[in-house]
Amino acid sequence: MKKIVLMGNPNVGKSVVFTRLTGAHVIISNYPGTTVDYSQGTTCLDKEHVYIIDAPGTYSLEPSNRAEEVASTILNDADLVINVVDATNLERNLSLTLELLGRGKPLVIALNMWDEARHTGIEIDAAHLQELLHVPVIPTVAVTGEGIHNLAAQCIKTIPLPSAVILGEEERWARIGQITREVQKVTHRHHTLSDHISDATIRPVTGIPIACAVILFSFWFVVLFGEIWINHVTDPIFELYRPLVTALSGWIGTGFLSSVLIGVPVGGQINFEQSMGMLTTGLYIPFGVVLPFIIAFYIMAALLEDSGYLPRLATLTDTVFHRLGMHGYGIVPVFLGLGCNVPGALATRVLETRKQRFIAATLLAIAVPCMAKTSMIFGVLGQFGIQYVLIVFAALFIVYAVVGIILNRIIKGKCPEIFLEIPPYRWPQFSMVAKKTWMRLVAFVVEAVPFLFLGILFVNILYATGFLAWLGTLLSPLIEGWLGLPGTASAALLIGFLRKDLAIGMLLPLGMTPQQLVVAVTTLTMYFPCVGTFAVLFRELGPADLAKAIGVMIVTAFLVGGVMRFILMGL
């Protein structure tokens, strides 16, 4: 099958072109580095099946980070390259184009964001560009689909091999200068409202208060939306479901099957949070507790991503992140990690060096609570008052900063500085936001529900075999002596490896004081990543670095848990 590779600078719309060509759905945002791994799909162009790969964005074929390495490797097996070029930024983009031409692969240029270029007063003579480069140039507006048909038609034609002229750097820039002068006309334009907003959100004096407002608003939106959804949508649905599951419970009677499927009744009836059955807690936790917040979070995330706000936030936070061995772009894994640590861990690839990625990944797993962890924190502590929830978040925040500073000191390696292109602000499109939210929801359900079921099955087996009681005794010096928790809490810690949100149902029945719960929840959040994140970290860091990261996590979790115990409860 013919292999077509999409190549281009970061944030030029390769993924949008990919979606348009294949009909496959991939995540698209308005910031450089959304595609850190490649996506692939097959499609049929005029009866011919082709294989299309969406490479991560790259400025050059001499890679300077992991995503660029991936892009450069993919290029080697390409039969045809579609070079996606940002028409609003022709001069810079042509550098990669000329490098690609030097590789001697058949090439088609998609001159994307054609409409935006025209609006900003840039006129490009596509026909003339085609003559100068000796390869087809197709103007496209991938977000609306304009020009994609032409592009697809061009891909099935036999494209003459470009003459592989390898230019030195100086010659290349001279050539680019010459080409841009010949094909591009720029009309000067005045500072628009969008430019003023752009400046205001990136300058510290105005930008920092705006950033605080945006973060507070986002948080408020997620909590409010989640609560409304739970009270008015999911809880009523589960109340309708209750008689059904109660009837089923009466029918299967008692025994192992009943405790696995239905669980233990609390106060004479099924308790969706605490019964720990697959059909009760196993359904209620993901759909009734976590999903509403996930929906809210991903809507908010999509709005922030697609508007182009994230790179500005990265600029504002750079000074702080730099002290932690990363740079401002370290905000991207944190931001995505607040939804789910799995995409967060993948996004550590936006950082350049091994040291930076190690710090980002370790801190992510320790101190960035995903929505499942956040639901657990609220689910367990919310009823005792918001102050207890805030203690946990404050502790996580402090741990992020302190562990970051320490890791930056002790880990050897380079910490390159921020070097980031800031995209223009764009209005998020409703259909894109909806689609992205939907894709992420599906990913959450597919990933979370099996582990929850598995976790519940596991708990019941461990409970039935007496393993949990034995473990409780074994760990009692640590759990009781050091953290000041009942020994039975060790079961929740153990199960936290599969799904942290399951711990809600396991901690609540133990009758602990709010202070004890704060210690338990903080330790549980930090001590180990969930199994999904663990798998991604294994791939991203390798076994040796993962072992180190886990060492840091366990030491930090129990150290901080112990310190909090002494602060909150005394000796």
Binding site: Y59, S60, E62, S64, T88, N89, E91, R92, S95, L96, T120, E169, W173, S198, D199, I202, R203, P204, P311, A314, T315, L316, D318, T319, H322, H327, G328, P416, E417, I418, F419, L420, E421, I422
Partner: protein, 77 residues
């Protein structure tokens, strides 16, 4: 006499004269639009050794202070 852009105040416009540092680094700057002869505007300079944001050809780029220090420019009047 060219000076580095990390010494320029917010709002100043200048012409890029020289890039310092390794060849790979210089190349990276050029592919992101920062090249000899280009006009550069300082959008902002963050305090406490924070990044410098520049505007070249209507596109903004955030540069760490060390990177900014290796871009030498001549302020325009």
């Amino acid at each position: 006499m060219p000076i580095s852009i990390s010494d320029l105040q917010e709002g100043v416009t200048a012409t890029v004269r020289e890039l310092r540092g390794g060849l790979g680094f210089q190349k990276q700057l050029r592919t992101m639009g920062i090249r000899e002869g280009k006009t550069i505007r300082i959008v902002t300079r963050h305090p406490f050794g924070g990044p410098v944001v520049v505007d070249v050809d209507g596109k903004m780029t955030t540069l760490g202070r060390g990177i900014a220090g290796r871009i030498l420019v001549e302020p325009q009047q």
